[in-house]
């Protein structure tokens, strides 16, 4: 099946181009305008929130949406107040399992 190898080659190169699009010309990124800087500054919160939002919305077959949202809220508060990932993970998973059993 040479179709597969064609896909590997084209998608591989295309993905590398996307990944390197700015990293490979980073030396030219000095002195960008304030407008560009403002846009760049918004990428981390926006991209990360989009990842989280999509994951929370997408049913994974084992937990309910409401349970996931509540547990995510609790985990956010824990991370915000105490910056403790382990605690947020344990409590978050605990809450989602408990709520799933109840709802």
């Amino acid at each position: 099946m040479s179709r597969v190898w064609l896909v590997v080659a084209v998608v591989g190169l295309g993905t590398l181009a996307a990944r390197g699009s700015f990293l490979l010309v980073a030396e030219r990124s000095q002195g960008v305008s304030r407008r560009v800087e403002r846009v760049l500054r918004m990428i981390p919160p926006a991209a990360l929130a989009a990842i989280v939002g999509l994951q929370l919305a997408d049913p994974d077959g084992s937990t309910g949406l409401v349970a996931r949202l509540v547990a995510a809220g609790v985990a956010t508060v824990i991370t915000w107040r105490w910056a403790n990932l382990a605690l947020a993970l344990v409590v978050g998973v605990g809450v989602v399992i408990a709520l799933d059993a109840v709802i």
């Binding site: 990944r19 990360l48 999509l54 997408d58």
Partner: protein, 234 residues
Amino acid sequence: MSESPTTVRSAVRDGIVAMAPLALGVAPFGLVVGATASEEGLSALQAAGLSLGVFAGASQLAAIDLLGSGAPLLVVIATALVINLRMVMYSASLAPHVRELPRRRRLAMSYLLVDQAYALSIVRWEQRDDPLSARFAFYLAVAVPLWTIWQTTTLVGVAVGNQVPEDIPLSFTVSLVFLAVLVPSLTDRPRVVAALVAGGVAMAAQGLPADLALIVGALCGIGAGAWCEARFGR
């Protein structure tokens, strides 16, 4: 967090510690992708070729599905590439932090760029003024183990099929890790707006094909946050 400059050694240690909980999500996903590849008639060599050449789970899975269903080659390629468009955004966001690195190292970073490496690195680099060598070391300490786990588990998936139990909320654990990375990036009001809009739009747009919801959500959030900052300041 110490006041002394971060050494390469401590950056590597921090990177591995930060990466570990995300490996919980990568390993089962790799098994699923490997198992699906063999179900759809790909050989072990072809599955390994995809993992080595593309190294991006969601697009690999989509490509395998479409190849298996006999979709036109152009559709397979276009779908897989659209899913990976978000990498452009990550690349733009990381670039200013590593512009003094030799290009060869930036090429290595590019090949290894995935959601997890982006998320953990950008938040760390924003929070701490690490020397360049420590920044690169942290990135590799996250990305190289994930790459190794991905290559291994996709092959194991081809060989043994999908053995991941359904009832452990593993994927939810991964969401929580990304959430924990998101929170410290909310340093001011425009960024909170960016996150709320991006998350909300991504959830609402969940049904869009080819993971478009992610990039649509992110773009809306970036636009909303940048507009807020231009209009009202930080």
